[in-house]
Symmetry: C2
Subunit: 464 residues, 2 copies
């Protein structure tokens, strides 16, 4: 429990109206998308960077832990105040788009800006912000940067880190740091922005983000490839890309997901579909779109596709995407609780990885519907269990651990886009050796010697 | 001077034939492209990663400083053994392309591989490695990563950091670290690869590099825009890009360079050319190339261009590029010594930046021919002096310092692609405040507590 004198001191910094310490608010800010709950001792809403600096300096001096929070939509507990202390919430004041610089094709935003707001503001200026996590309607750019969020368009356009040009951030001691520039090239000094991305609020509190914007593509079309088996679809993924196709997105649905879509939503999908690949292609000219569709059609059919559909208008495109957009909710027919992991492997390993993941599921008697961003090797693996059955839940967790071991042994990663946070922290020693984990601790202490910033996340030490 | 027992110990690690300590070799390895000389105490050629680990562990224990060296082609002294000790040279053994993985579109190389060898190996597999520093024929990928090398294609394709997917590296204490994966998405743990890029050998010794490759574009054409003035050309740069043009390269030559090209090489260029923009556009389909050329033609003419030429074949393209490729050697007509800096500003600031840079030159009575990568805001600024005249050389250095102050005040950077090394270290306090420089030191010490790795570079402390 935080000494009330600290609450008063924080009120002195940001104003009484910007500190919550009543029970109702502490409960309201105790959760994220993991549905795990940890109450902070206080929720503090900084008004600007100077507030952040003053709060951190005070907390550093008094060894009060701080958890930065964007929209609280994370899947791994990165924004949960697991050690109590201060929840530093960006949503109330630090949520403005500061600038859309059309001339230099960049946007400058505060961390609390919602991803879709940035996409819309860019589009209104004729520009394009590609990163599109599934949470785009509510997740914040600060959270996106802290977790290095991906999304569907990553196959062609990359992920959040590919768009961050500059950051402003506050170190644990209150020092304000500028990292990067509004220039394509900048090689002066260490790449501080590079290490702050994906650091999950453990190194510094991000206060301003400058991202690159692209010209808006002129033409887009949606496609769907229909495959008899997951293996065929997975072969088609890496072989079509290696053959030169460069789709915006290449999303995968396995046969369990296809079955669930028919069963629960009555979506009409081909009888014989053992797996689907759905996506978009784009270009500045119609011929580029046709080139991409031709590449995909050709490669898909060379790899066993039994159908290739192209949407001829936006409405047809929406229909093709409807299946993908509903993949996540429908699979609850296989179990009341889903243990949802977002592994990623080199694309050529997808056929083998999926085969072995299903085998692990079978071994534990659990269904494992899979879908996701096959075009970049990132698959959402859902181990479905009866949440009210502790024995089955335990089996599910054992299956997850085996899946992580498999994925890492194949050159893959624990997380393609959700981060490590709390929920994957127990598995860090599968992915990293002692020397690598020691380096992470050394970096953490270099930025934050008193371990006040989001301690205990990512397998890093809890407060002393 | 290094105690001879250390030389013997190093011979014990890598073999006698892989340690040079005779005067002739120490002189041969004392230079880089800055033409400054510092002799190491020994040159050591590790055979493999394990050698690197054993060498570093030994040197860390005995506080012997180490400077990693790729091809020694750097422009800022990053690979100069300024504090003596061991020069760790990658060129002899650690120079192999380990794998071109066509299925996953990645290459795995050792640090001593020459950039062009990688480009060629990728092309032989139908793939494309875009980063093309002017030193591509001789600089090494290890050096490219350590300095985050750019190049002409950065306007469309970005720079070295945009291609590094994974690194293996050895910390000062000998620990072998794997960073990143052969996957597009990987958000587990700190982005160690992100901070090693551009760290100029001060944090770890890179032993293996995995880079992303792209499909080879099918069509390319070269163009040249002819402008009456530098201001018109600079306006055309950012306005054409903001209008949606996305050229592979957009290179700039100012009127002093144009004059020198005519004078020294007799190149035929339009009489009225006050500035030129030269570059390539590419695409998978011919229509994309035409779209890009149309965008450029239209935007250039709307911004004062008096001519726009498109090369109709490879030979014509070569002719357009001949002027750009000879920009650097011809400007010696303005002075025997060139103080060559590679500043970068947000593109919309280019007109103002160039105007003010010429004014600084005029103030000191010096010619400042400028050329370079305007499409990404990175300009090579050449303050020309009589190298045999100490007073003029001094004036030149004063002009450079003023130029750095100007550029930083405009949101630009000390270096777009050459790095800081030794030659720009004195200017670090123009670009960074005390808090930022303190963070750099803290990070350096986290990786390398005994300060043995390339100490004194980038404004970091020299050995105690």
């Amino acid at each position: 429990m935080l000494d009330p004198k600290h609450i008063e001191a924080l009120k002195g910094i940001v104003g009484t109206e910007n500190v919550y310490s009543d029970k109702a608010h502490l409960i309201a800010y105790s959760y994220d998308a993991t549905r795990t709950r940890y109450e902070p001792d206080a929720v503090v809403f900084p008004r600007h960077e100077e507030d952040v600096s003053n709060i951190l300096r005070y907390c550093n001096e008094h060894r009060i832990v701080i958890t930065p929070r964007g929209a609280g939509s994370g899947f791994t507990g990165g924004a949960l105040p697991a050690n109590g202390g201060i929840l530093l919430a960006m949503e109330k004041h630090m949520n403005r788009i500061l600038e859309i610089d059309i001339e230099n094709m960049v946007a400058v935003v505060q961390p609390g800006v919602v991803n879709m707001e940035l996409q819309k503001a860019a589009a209104a200026a004729g520009l394009f912000y590609p990163p599109d996590p599934a949470s785009e309607e509510y997740s914040s750019i600060g959270g996106n940067v802290s977790e290095n969020a991906g999304g569907m368009r990553a196959a062609k356009y990359g992920i959040t880190k590919d768009y961050v040009m500059a950051l402003r951030a506050v170190r644990a001691n209150g020092d304000i740091i500028r990292a990067g520039k509004r220039t394509i090239k900048d090689v002066a000094g260490y790449n501080i922005a590079g290490i702050l991305i994906a650091s999950e609020g453990t190194l510094a509190v991000i206060t301003e983000i400058t991202v690159k914007l692209l010209p808006m593509p002129q033409f887009t079309k949606s496609y769907m490839g229909i495959f008899p088996s997951v293996e065929d679809a997975m072969n088609a993924v890496f072989k079509s890309l290696a053959a030169g196709a460069n789709p915006v997105a290449m999303e995968f649905l396995d046969s369990l997901v296809v079955h669930a879509l028919k069963e629960k939503l009555g979506i009409e999908l081909p009888e014989e579909a053992g797996a689907l690949l759905v996506g978009d292609v784009d270009g500045n000219v119609a011929e580029e779109v046709e080139y991409q569709l031709h590449k995909l059609d050709e490669s898909f059919k060379a790899n066993g596709a039994i159908g290739f559909t192209v949407a001829q208008n936006a409405e047809e495109g929406k229909k093709l995407w409807y299946a993908r957009r509903n993949a996540s909710p429908v699979i609850t027919i296989y179990g009341s609780k889903k243990l949802n992991e977002d592994i990623s492997v080199p694309r050529s390993k997808l056929p083998e990885a999926l085969e072995k993941i299903y085998a692990i599921g079978a071994k534990y008697g659990l269904k494992v519907p899979c879908f996701g961003h096959a075009g970049d090797g990132n698959i959402h693996v859902n181990v479905m269990v009866d949440g009210s059955n502790p024995a089955e839940l335990h089996k599910g967790h054992e299956a997850i651990e085996e899946i992580f071991e498999l994925v890492v042994s194949m050159g893959g990663t624990l997380s393609g886009e959700h981060g490590i946070g709390m929920s994957k922290a127990p598995f860090m020693n599968i992915a990293f050796n002692d020397e690598e984990l020691a380096l992470f601790r050394d970096i953490k202490l270099a930025f934050d010697p008193n371990n006040i910033l989001n301690p205990g996340k990512m397998g890093l030490p809890n407060p002393a």
